[in-house]
Amino acid sequence: MIDKTVASPQNALADVPNGATIMIGGFGNAGMPAALIDALIAQGARNLTIVNNNAGNGDTGLAALIKAKRVRKILCSFPRQADSWHFDALYRAGELALELVPQGTLAERIRAAGAGIGAFYTPTAYGTRLAEGKETRRIDGRDYVLEYPIHADYAIIKADRADRWGNLTYRKSARNFAPIMASAAKCTVVQVREIVALGALDPEAVVTPGIFVKRVVKH
C-alpha cells in the first residue's frame, strides 16, 4: 500500500544533508510551510542553497533559517523588504550569496526543471544588467536571453489537503510556487492542513498529482 504520509515534520526532513538545494514554497507568508521550516532549523543541516521568491520576512520561517546561519546562497526575485532585516544583515556582511532572478524567469526556470527542459529563451531582462554575460539570441525580430533550469534536492511546500498518494489541493493565493517546485525537486515534502481518505479529493480539483510528491505531513 502506498502511504506517503509521515508522522511529523521532523521525520519528514530527517535526511536533509549539508549543502542541499532546497526550494521553499510561499510568497511572503501565503503558502509558507512554517512547520517544515522550523523542523529544518531544528534538524541542523547547514550550507544550504535556498530557492524562494523572497528572502524572509520578520523573524519566523525563512527569516529564522537565515538568522540561524544555515543558508549559503539564496535564489530569489525580491529579497529587499521592509522586514527582511536578517537577510539584509548577512548579505551586507558578505556571509550570504544572492542570485537575483526576475520573478517570471524564476518561475519558468523551476518549471523547466520539473518538465525536463534543458534551457529556454525568454525576452525578460534583455538589455538589462540581469542579463549581462548571458547568451542572447534574436528570434523573429525579438531579442531573448538564454536561461537554465533550477533543480533542487528538496522542495518543502504547503498545501491545503492531501491523500496518502500525495495528491494535493491548495487554498487561494497560497498556491503560488508550490506546484512547480513540487515537480522540480528530487524529494518534495508537503505540509498540509488536512489528510483525507483516498478518493475523497475531487480528481478534477487536484492541482498537484501525487507523482510529484514524496512525503506528506499534517500540521
Partner: protein, 216 residues
Amino acid sequence: MKKRDKNELAARVARDIPEGAYVNLGIGLPTLVAEHLPKGREIILHSENGILGVGPKPAAGAEDEDLINAGKEPVTLLAGGAYFHHADSFAMIRGRHLDFAILGAFQVSTAGDLANWHTGAADAIPAVGGAMDLAVGAKKVLVMMEHLTKKGESKIVERCTYPLTGARCVDRIYTDLAVIDVKPDGLHVVETVEGLSFEELQRLTGVPLKRMLTAA
C-alpha cells in the same frame, strides 16, 4: 498650473482602461488605480502571485492570510476570479495576454526605456520582482510617476542613468503634469494639466517633445 495629486493621477489613468481589459497594477502608486476604475466597467485585475479578478481590500477582521496581492496586502476575489500557480501567472504576462501593465518609474527615456527597479546605488540591495517580466510582456506598458524629481530634474530623460528594467517598452507616460505617448518618432504630448502650456512643459522636461495632438 494645477498639478494632479496622486488620486487625480490614478483617476486619469483609470479613465483610459476600457471594459474587458486584463490589467496588472504595479506595487505602490499604480495600486491606487484600482480605487478609481469607473463603476460599471468590468476590468479584470491580475496579481503576479496567481490571481485574476482581484477585488477590493477586505473589511477589517475579514483578512485571509492565504489571499494577498503582489504587494503582500490582503485582498478579496471577485465572482469569476481564479487562482493559478506562478508559472501560469507569468505565462499570462510574458505571453502577451495582459492588455495593460501600469508601473511606477524612476526614469523613462525618449525611446521608452524604463528604469524602475534599482537606484544604481552601490550599497543598495537589489530586488526586481516581476517588473522585468511586465515590462516586456504586457501589450501596453503605462507608466505613472511624478514628472520631476524632488530636486526638480525631469524623470523623462534622453538616456536612463538608472539600471534598465526593460528597453523600448513604455507606451504611455502619465505624470502629475502631462500625458505623453512614446512613439517611434519621439514623445507626443497628449495633454497637459490646466494652466500648463506646452512651452512650459517643454522647458521643465528638457528632452524634445512634440506638440499636443488633442487638448486636455
